[in-house]
Symmetry: C2
Subunit: 312 residues, 2 copies
């Protein structure tokens, strides 16, 4: 059994109210694979990089045992680069520059050794590329996808074709409202699930995440942090923790999905504590363990003996 | 034992994307007392109204057994009137008109029969009026206050004097950030608690509420609703459910406070389903009971056996 992750590997330049960083390791597949690697052994990466990706960045993937056979190197091109700025409201960001470079015309070939993958994790990319990767996998047991407002607006038909083929969609609240063209999240969730994904996770940044599946709504808090340095990659780190935990348990049922949302949230709560994927490079079991327990405490409602005693 | 509530009784005119209502029953004390009346017998109201408050509105308070000895009637003046408009993002509202009328120079006298109140609930008003009411009560066991951005900006010194005398402050997230002049909620909470209130509840609208007290953070979800008609009074209804439950239990400890946040949230989730306080007029035990159970299900994390199994 393996988890196949397709997404971007990037050089990010980030400005937040707490500092700046230039050309640090980034990209959706980077964050997702590093995060998943704490929960499952076999993580297979599909992406593309150029000649300018520092060797130490690739080394970081090796050290987490991530299979990079599907990471194409184009020595005549530059790596995908993103530059962005966050404000005090860390839920909002401005994209200052996006240089697609190697991503332009990216049409990945999934290595033969990846084709038996049981979990396929389609990071945010052109939906037609996501589908092409999915169709190269023999018989995935579980398909998870992310997307963003750009694809919702620019390639709605291609996105709908993709949604019909995925088991689980993970998007943020603004994207969910836009995709369903419906301001109410509960109604938006029902409409999105009718497009294909049985399982929908809506991420709400500092307000946590919600899980929707048959007859079930689950609301997970975000972990309240005193020092957030850089929110970049939080969503992808969530995705990695979510699929990593599901793969580890080897079962997709409602209790496991709820716990997977907490695992994803816990991993995301670490990554924002430093610039880039720094915190994901050598995390200790005990730290993850402790944060998971703190999550439980944070939202645990003490039992009520009798819900209502008096009508006044 | 009794709960004394001071606040406004108002005539509200409200516009939401789902309808409009003119001169409906409103005000912070109206919502808070009606909500508390489902959990505790003796609710004492301190406020002021004019000649134009329909008799049927007073009748609604009588029917919920609310003591209105402290509700002053000024037959030569008009009732406080508020007019507002909500947009699709129901967390935002525009105040279109505020006619203070009887509230101008409101300097309440607490009736002798109220002075033994054990819980004092200071609804949003000029902090000097809140303090004057508090000082007329003999020996309250628990003092809860609400405030808003207007008082944070206009009467900061008076507000700080009030905060030094209250046990619990209940405000929304924007007000907490403004009061502490600190964008991070965790740090803002610590700073506000240092001003006096041992217990701080931060309401986040559709994102739930947080409780902060010694060494404790608790995050409660909001109940996700498909049909929200009118958010007016949700915060005051929360306050009423919160203090009503605390009074019913007769104990202020961490588990009871956490449950009180859920009771407040459940009552608030009902009130927004109709215009004005409609839903608070004749609610059934069983409906409250059912909503409380739904809240538990919504945020209950299934036990994890082993938090982390593999380091990949």
């Amino acid at each position: 059994m393996s988890i196949l992750v397709v997404g971007t590997v990037a050089l990010d330049s980030v400005e937040t109210p707490f500092g700046t960083a230039e050309n640090i390791f980034g990209g959706s597949a980077t964050y997702a694979t590093l995060s998943a690697s704490y929960f499952y052994e076999t993580i297979q990466l599909v992406s593309v990089v150029g000649h300018d990706l520092p060797e130490s960045y690739l080394q970081a993937l090796h050290e987490r045992n991530i299979d990079v056979e599907g990471l194409e190197l184009r020595s005549d091109q530059k790596t995908f680069a993103w530059r962005g700025r966050y404000h005090y409201d860390l839920n909002e960001r401005d994209t200052l520059a996006t240089d697609l470079n190697v991503l332009e015309g990216f049409d990945p070939t999934v290595p033969a050794s990846y084709r038996a993958a049981s979990i396929v994790c389609l990071g945010n990319l052109d939906p037609s590329v996501q589908r092409s990767v999915l169709h190269q996998v023999d018989a995935p047991a579980f398909v998870v996808a992310d997307t963003m407002n750009f694809w919702i607006q620019q390639t709605p038909d291609s996105l709908r074709k993709l949604l019909a083929e995925v088991d689980c969609l993970i998007i943020n609240d603004a994207e969910a409202r836009e995709l369903a063209d419906e301001p109410n999240l509960i109604r938006a969730a029902a409409q999105i699930r009718a497009l294909g994904p049985d399982i929908l996770v809506i991420k709400k940044g500092e307000h946590g995440a919600m899980l929707f599946t048959d007859g079930i709504m689950f609301s997970a808090p975000a972990f309240p942090l005193e020092d957030i340095q850089d929110p970049t990659g939080a969503g992808d780190t969530f995705l990695g923790g979510f699929v990593g935990y599901l793969a580890q348990k080897g079962v997709i049922d409602t209790p496991t999905l709820k716990r997977a949302v907490i695992y994803g949230s816990a991993m995301a709560s670490f990554v924002v504590e430093a610039f880039g994927p720094e915190r994901l490079l050598n995390m200790e079991h005990e730290a993850i363990h402790k944060r998971l327990r703190a999550f439980r405490e944070l939202s645990k409602i003490p039992a009520f003996e009798v819900p209502v005693q008096s009508e006044g």
